[in-house]
């Protein structure tokens, strides 16, 4: 009951304002396009973009969205699964940290397109390379923020844990991780939007469907309105995932959200 209420409250209350902002911006955009007669191959007006939605049928749209969503989610979850242990190891061991951090930076800063051939040769052209590419793009913020968070725990609480002679992993799970929760969620918010970007980039590299593919394909066919309609859907997907992360934090970790103090 209380959890359900929390969900309902968290889900509805903040929706009004952003929706209003968006509608306002859409109107401005439409007006700008009309007033300045911006050619639609530069920036189509919202009303023309609406037309782009008709380009393919609902089932096809769904297939594109589902494909991008699936890859983004798998990459995102994979990067969470990978980042947590890495972050814990980085926080625990100075030596590991010095040896491994630079390697992570190298991985993070390698442009995916440059290594796409190897990834595809090694992993084929299925979902796997796309999930891996998404994960490569997503994991770094999670590792950095989680590590920082794990190290930010107040020393008194670490002394408490040490004085109890608890196994190290409990110090991590029961003290450091809860303390790192604000850091972790801050990284999750960054990473979840990056995961969509990652899926899109992966579709540029290897795919026959997905929103990134659709946008790029439409652009290469000079179907500008269609490309923009794909972009709109993509952005909505990203927003929903971002809000989902927010909602999870509000419902399950309400104490981790600092209240406004004024």
């Amino acid at each position: 009951m209380s959890t359900r209420n929390a969900i309902r409250h968290a889900a509805t209350a903040p929706a009004v304002l952003p929706v209003a902002t968006f509608i306002g911006l859409l109107i401005l955009w439409e007006l700008a396009c009309r007033l300045f007669a911006i050619p639609s191959y530069v920036l189509p007006s919202p009303s023309r973009i609406m037309g782009g939605f008709g380009a393919v049928d609902a089932a096809r749209w769904f297939a594109h969205v589902w494909s991008t969503f699936r890859v983004a989610m798998m990459g995102f979850l994979l990067s969470i699964v990978i980042s947590l242990p890495i972050a814990i190891a980085l926080a625990r061991s100075e030596v590991f940290s010095r040896a491994v951090y630079p390697i992570l930076v190298v991985i993070q800063s390698t442009p995916v397109v440059a290594i796409a051939p190897i990834i595809i040769v090694v992993m084929g052209a299925g979902d796997l390379p796309r999930v891996v590419i998404t994960c490569l793009i997503t994991f770094f913020p999670l590792v950095v923020s989680t590590t920082t968070g794990l190290l930010a725990t107040p020393p008194e609480l670490i002394e408490l844990s040490r004085s109890l002679r608890a196994p190290v992993w409990r110090e991590i799970t029961q003290i450091r991780l809860p303390y790192a929760v604000p850091y972790i969620f801050s990284a999750l918010k960054i990473s979840v939007t990056l995961s969509v970007i990652g899926a899109v980039v992966a579709e540029f590299v290897a795919a026959e469907k997905g929103l990134g593919y659709f946008i790029q394909f439409s652009t290469s066919m000079f179907q500008i309105q269609q490309a923009w309609s794909g972009l709109v859907v993509l952005v909505l997907l990203s927003l929903s995932l971002f809000q989902a992360v927010n909602l999870i934090q509000r419902v399950f970790f309400p104490w981790s959200i600092a209240r406004q103090s004024r």
Partner: protein, 308 residues
């Protein structure tokens, strides 16, 4: 000298040699032109840059211009053909059992996701009595196609004729031999890379445009006659390229510029029938309404020297 911004449809390379020849060999200067080259990222992007006036004149696939004219009515016009054949081809390795276009049936073929070849694929398959269902198609980054072919991950790939020497080089490294099947041989007759220009440039500086087209044509002829020197011109201007590689791809490219069609119709000519056939193919391939564009409205042949 009159300033002209020239738009490439992709990065510099041997296939773009004429514009470098034009500058490096002084043809542009002789014509009183000061040419700046803008790199490009695909034909559609080049068309957009011309339409918005970022560049004056440039090279792009005429199919992209046709699609752009049909859907958005962009103010860009074609003035000259450069490739009078489609550059698309199947590549395979000796021993993979692909010798003609018919042989791709039942094979695994890789292509890059956004190449214009993909739209023509059903047509060329149709010419040899196949459909897309008869092949297993994978889409992957262009850089991955060669490695996929050489490592045996696929039986064949779809790539351009301009890259024959490069794929040959890759095959040699693993001791294999390449097989190339141009789609034009399988019946796909069309114009592809063409010189296109923004309408405002043509209207405001027709004289500059005319001089430029003439100088460019001269550069093409120079490249045909002196491929090695032409390649050196490219390497002079683009230090990242070496003349040897450039010459390889220039020679590959010349097949599309100087061939039996050129012999028959003349260099740079856009014949109405072949143009109409190209549009018919493009419309069919991209699912556009064939009546949405009269291809004659998007060409202006008056800038090509010797035609008027």
């Amino acid at each position: 000298a009159d300033a002209v911004t020239f738009q490439l449809d992709w990065l510099p390379g041997g296939d773009k040699a004429p514009i470098y020849v034009c500058i490096d060999q002084g043809f542009c200067e002789q014509a009183g032109l000061d040419v700046t080259i803008n790199g490009g990222r695909g034909s559609s992007e080049a068309v957009t840059k011309l339409a918005t006036g970022v560049s004056d004149i440039g090279i792009a696939d005429i199919g992209a211009l046709m699609a752009a004219r049909a859907t958005e009515n962009v103010p860009v016009t074609a003035v000259m053909s450069v490739f009078n054949k489609g550059p698309h081809a199947f590549y395979s390795l000796d021993g993979n059992g692909i010798e003609t276009a018919e042989d791709v049936a039942g094979k695994e073929i890789a292509t890059s996701p956004f190449t214009s070849s993909n739209v023509f694929l059903p047509l060329v398959l149709g010419e040899v009595g196949l459909s897309e269902d008869d092949i297993a198609l994978t889409k992957a980054d262009p850089g991955a196609l060669g490695p996929m072919l050489m490592t045996g991950a696929v039986d064949g790939i779809i790539a351009w004729m301009t890259d024959v020497s490069r794929y040959t080089g890759q095959a040699e490294e693993v001791g294999k031999e390449i097989v190339v099947i141009p789609w034009s041989d399988a019946g796909l007759e069309l114009y592809s890379a063409s010189m296109i220009a923004s309408d405002s440039f043509l209207a405001e500086k027709p004289d500059v445009a005319r001089r430029f087209v003439e100088a460019y044509k001269k550069s093409i002829e120079f490249s045909i006659e002196n491929p090695a020197e032409a390649a050196q011109s490219v390497a002079n201007m683009v230090p990242e390229l070496n003349a040897e590689n450039v010459e390889g791809s220039l020679r590959d490219t010349l097949v599309l510029i100087d061939n039996e069609v050129t012999e028959r119709d003349g260099l740079g000519v856009l014949l109405p029938e072949r143009l109409a056939a190209t549009w018919a193919r493009v419309a069919e391939a991209q699912g556009l309404d064939a009546s949405a564009l009269d291809p004659e409205t998007m060409v202006d042949r008056s800038f090509l020297p010797g035609t008027m």
